[in-house]
């Protein structure tokens, strides 16, 4: 049993197609990844981090000025 699995409640099971699992198994041979789970976790984390970075919009000074105009009209700002 891996250390990951020993931490009860911190992990859950996700099913992936067997051919994909086989592919991953081959890919991680000779790498630092000791299981399909650790590789899939790594890939998903990277993917989500990139997506979050792309989704993160900049709240610019120009945006702020426009918002302040509306807040003034609503009576929330002098």
């Amino acid at each position: 049993m891996t250390a990951e699995k020993e931490e009860k409640g911190k992990y859950t099971t996700v099913s992936i197609p067997t051919p994909l699992a086989e592919k991953i198994k081959k890919r991680i041979e000779g790498t630092g990844f000791n299981s399909i789970s650790s590789y899939v976790t790594y890939v998903l984390r990277e993917l989500l981090a990139n997506m979050e970075e792309e989704e993160e919009e900049v709240f610019s000074k120009e945006d702020e000025e426009k918002i302040k105009e509306r807040l003034r009209a609503l009576g929330y700002l002098d």
Partner: protein, 185 residues
Amino acid sequence: MTNYIVSGLERSGTSMMMQILYRGGMPVAFDKSRPPNEHNPKGYYELEGGKVINRLMDGTFPLEKYDGKFIKITAYGLKFLPKGDYKIIYMVRNLDEIMDSMEKMSGPIDREVEKPLFEKLNKYAMKLIDEREDIDYIIVKYNDVVRNPRKEIERVNEFLGGKLDVDAAVKAVDPKLYRNVRENR
């Protein structure tokens, strides 16, 4: 010292939440600088006519005076909160409903321009409260409160450590007052 804050975009139900807390027996600070009107018939429950943001921006708002009491600071004002210890109830509401309500209150809005801006502000504020270690928060959806007040108020009560009189607080929610609710969103 802990400062308790009700926040969210303007017209997201912050006044409703202040009323809920007030009726539920929580210490709530507000003055009569902005009286009730057709936009908020039960009152705004604000300090200084809602212009706390100006005082936070210039660093003159006396947060220490409101230790242990709920005050209303709308989303943009969160940007100027000094380091402290905060518990925040953050209200969220369908953005089209917010725009409807803002339009009624302040005149025509170019939604193509302003809706994305307020969406950004909302995301910015929620990210800010999530990242700051001196802020403990709960997100409350306006429409959930209107539809199922007891369930949502019980959730708020749990966040506040059981200090709220839920039965009394539920009575603050009058669904008839909450116009502009877009169903199925």
